[in-house]
Amino acid sequence: MLWAQLIIQGFLLGTLYTLMSLGLNAIYGVLKAVNWAHGAFIMLGAYTAYWLFEFFGLNPYISVILAALLLTLVGTFSYDVYVKPFIGRPNFGSIMLITTYGLALVLINTARYFWTDVLRGVRLGEAPISIGDISISKPYFYGGLFAIGIAAIFYIFIEHTRLGKAIRATSQDRIASMLMTIDTNRLSRLIYMLGAGLAGATGALITPIFAITPEAGMVLGLKAIMVVIIGGLGSYMGSLIGGLLLGFSEVFGAFFLGAGNQPLIYLLVFVIVLAVRPSGIMGEK
């Protein structure tokens, strides 16, 4: 049942990538610009879970909440310094890209300074879940479960709460929303914090699966951006597709083409999408 194994693995990984990109997508929706520091937020969330585990033995799945909260705080500060001063400028999209890149550099290298480049991970060493011939390692399983759960909560929030509706309105038409007395500035701040929190949560979830190093902040940031762009900036369904696609391409790619070649698949897809249909799979033309 090799195929089943690959599909399940790819799916679980994909849900994590989707969660990772959800926040980025939301931020783009409201600010119409890419937050390059997203990967750094994920990395910090992962380190939060790691240190809580090292010092207090706290299970990373409980740390998810704490990581999310901490990153929300980080997001607030980041927004005020790296995003807010530039809103309203022409070329805001490019500017925010660059300033958040600067933010990523600051966060990642501060992490490197204090924690060095040593790879860290939370090793739980538990037995896998077996269903017949398929075995799923618990961190993948719980990771996927939490990812789906958090994504579901987020979806409900966006669709059915007043705040969520305000966010969607601002995403669709910022000016009209301002006219309807939605405080777009406060909203932007809020969504940035929310996005950072989601990133932090994802970080906590990946610590038992992967090893993290501060540099992972850059790698994950790029992956999140690719997911969002392939799926279509601004489309949540697109993020889902993009994330699952990444998960599958990594697992299947590693199996059939070797672990070395596997990143090429998604990168090539990304570049092709940009060349042919920059608005992404689910984006409007």
Partner: protein, 429 residues
Amino acid sequence: MVDKKMFGKKGLTKIQTIIIIIVVAIALIVGVVYYISLPASIPAAENEIRIGISLGLSGGYAGPSQRQLWGLLMAVEDINTAGGIYVKEYGKKLPIRLIYYDDRGDFATAIKLYERLITEDKVHVLLGPYGSGTTLSVSSVPEKHKVIMISQMAAADTIPAQGFKYVFTLLPVASQFGLTRLGFLNSLSPKPQTFALVTSNELYPLTVANSTKILLERSGYTLTYFDTYPKGTTDFSGILLNIKQTNPDFVYFVCYPTDAFIIMEQMKGLKITPKLLMFDDGPNDPKFISVFGKDAEGILTQMSWHPALPYPEVENFTKRFQERYNELPRHWSAFPYAAIEVIKYAIEKAGSLNTDKIRNALLELNGEMTLVGPVKFEDWINPMGVKLTQINTGASNLILQIQGGEMKILYPKDVANAEPIYPWPGWHE
């Protein structure tokens, strides 16, 4: 801006201006250049022995480099406490001064720093940096300046394959590693038939993996799966599923510590159970046993040095190191320590700080005992047919296995202290 006056009758003529400018320029150049070329103050006669090195103290190699430094500091301290190294030419003992810099694992920086060590700090002997890549990159610098460099933290064959006369390699080279794996597998009964080999896609792991692959295949073992993974990979499921399908007897990962942790967990998830499982690095980390518990029993690994080795200095060194740094020493500290010992032997034998005399003395070493065992530098032809100059043929890599929560040496037999657990007991619940 140009003023007419400059070229008018009341000012200077154009030619005069140009002449003045040229004169001023030459004066300035000569002055500055003279200032820069003033040599750093050097004592008339030597009153210390300067040994220089740059390490990757920040960057991806921070951990091992730090330990490399510890080994050096301990050696220098030990020798200086006894007064230093006796140099016949000066009729007395001279203390060692260790000059070290941080190259952050960057090749261009390391090159710059080794230039500095040679031309500014005027060291007598150099030690190689951490890592095969960096060492390879800097190696032409000491060769050009004719300063001895003892490479002790780089194992790639490519370095001694360059044929340099001033570079000596203390650590066993990667192809020597291959011989150990072959010898170990050959010593088992029943002999395993098939193997899978996975390596990180970097110079040093690749050299170890390739030499192992070539030697094993040449001796009749069948390779069922081979792959390289990029540095920093965290999802091995593709590789592991391939291994599970091909079901080899011996599964060998040439990897870094954290890779080993991730791979173990993911292997457990997929219930892959070969007869022999080996990680080049990872099981040596004390956390490995505490995290994996009973699963870790019987896992193989390698080291170039281990505290259980029967050489005379080992026990004392291990004890002192542990007291000082609160952890067991590894080859990261042992080989640099031994490098200083080797330098001491050579200088004492040469009776001088003259580079060529020291070099000859190094070549005359014939199994002198150090912390890492007997040392002999000579040229050697590796199993791939490449000639390596000035490597330590006294050195050997070790195969170890976790038994009863402890690391036991299995091979080479003359330093072994346990019999192998074979086949590997596998996973527990």
